[in-house]
Symmetry: C2
Subunit: 145 residues, 2 copies
DNA sequence: TTTCGTGCAAACCCTTTGCATTTGC
DNA sequence: GCAAATGCAAAGGGTTTGCACGAAA
């Protein structure tokens, strides 16, 4: 599927201009298998089209997120990662020790999504939830409650 | 309860030196109601004992976390917050729009903690989980799956 | 005394911003 | 042409690091 065309079309439809820079940035988001950071998007974009500036990348990603075209996930790296909404969503266990990330079926957490609203006045965004912990290589002990 | 004495004792027991700086930093962690950031700990510590440096704060917090005496939570602010383990744990819905945070009973998520291990080789640290979403003031729509 | 901890200052990384210039529509 | 988008450069915030000095044990 050509998701980037979706995003491109959506931008035009909403009155935003299509620039070469934006197209390059969209391409990097699309072709990335895992979630991509602003810095990575910039490096990749500038490699094929030198006329891209890091601040443009930040402004573009912020726009896409505001329009709901990409989701923004904090994996606890001290930076944020982006992902097109069309590519689906899932949770991300992140190992505190080695930084390894896994994908996790959403179904493991969503059954309780509704529990977050009624008593708390809060709607959780559980599309890309970062969950810190330890992967197999760094499990030290198992605590059984 | 005097938790700081626990932490202090634990540090000594493990062969780490007790310095005035470390005591000041421990005190700030203890007296903070909510979770505290490195910068906040520094400001508070330096106010009562001028001889504290921000890098000492970072090194101390890193030590405490490594020893398992404090937990470290990423609330999506672009910085990290610390909390003594003895003070219990809970989750933190954080509003993407206004930054408001709430406390959430752990029981809303822990029933599924065990589900994270078997098939995935991962132990989730669900003590202080940041959950991004929108609070009552910024709820735009409710999606019913 | 000897190792550990600290202060200092610089550097690092990620991100944001103001302003002049360029460019899509 | 005009508003929107970009480039540039500077600044901001948070965090880390190397090294020499100082202090706990």
């Amino acid at each position: 599927m050509d998701h980037s065309r979706d995003i491109t079309g959506e931008l035009s439809k909403q009155g935003y201009r299509m620039t070469p820079q934006r197209m390059m940035i969209l391409a990097t988001i699309e072709k990335s298998d895992d979630h991509i950071s602003a810095g990575e998007s910039y490096s990749q974009a500038v490699a094929t089209y030198p006329n891209v500036n890091i601040s443009t990348v930040y402004r573009t990603l912020e726009l896409l997120e505001r329009l709901g075209l990409v989701t923004c996930t904090d994996l606890g790296e001290g930076r944020v990662r982006y992902h097109p909404v069309e590519k689906g969503h899932h949770h991300h266990p992140v190992c505190r020790e080695c930084g390894a990330t896994l994908d996790l079926k959403e179904s493991l957490l969503t059954p309780r999504k509704d529990a977050l609203l009624p008593g708390h006045g809060f709607i959780a965004d559980l599309k890309h939830l970062a969950i810190l912990g330890r992967c197999v290589n760094f499990i030290k002990y198992i605590y059984i409650a």
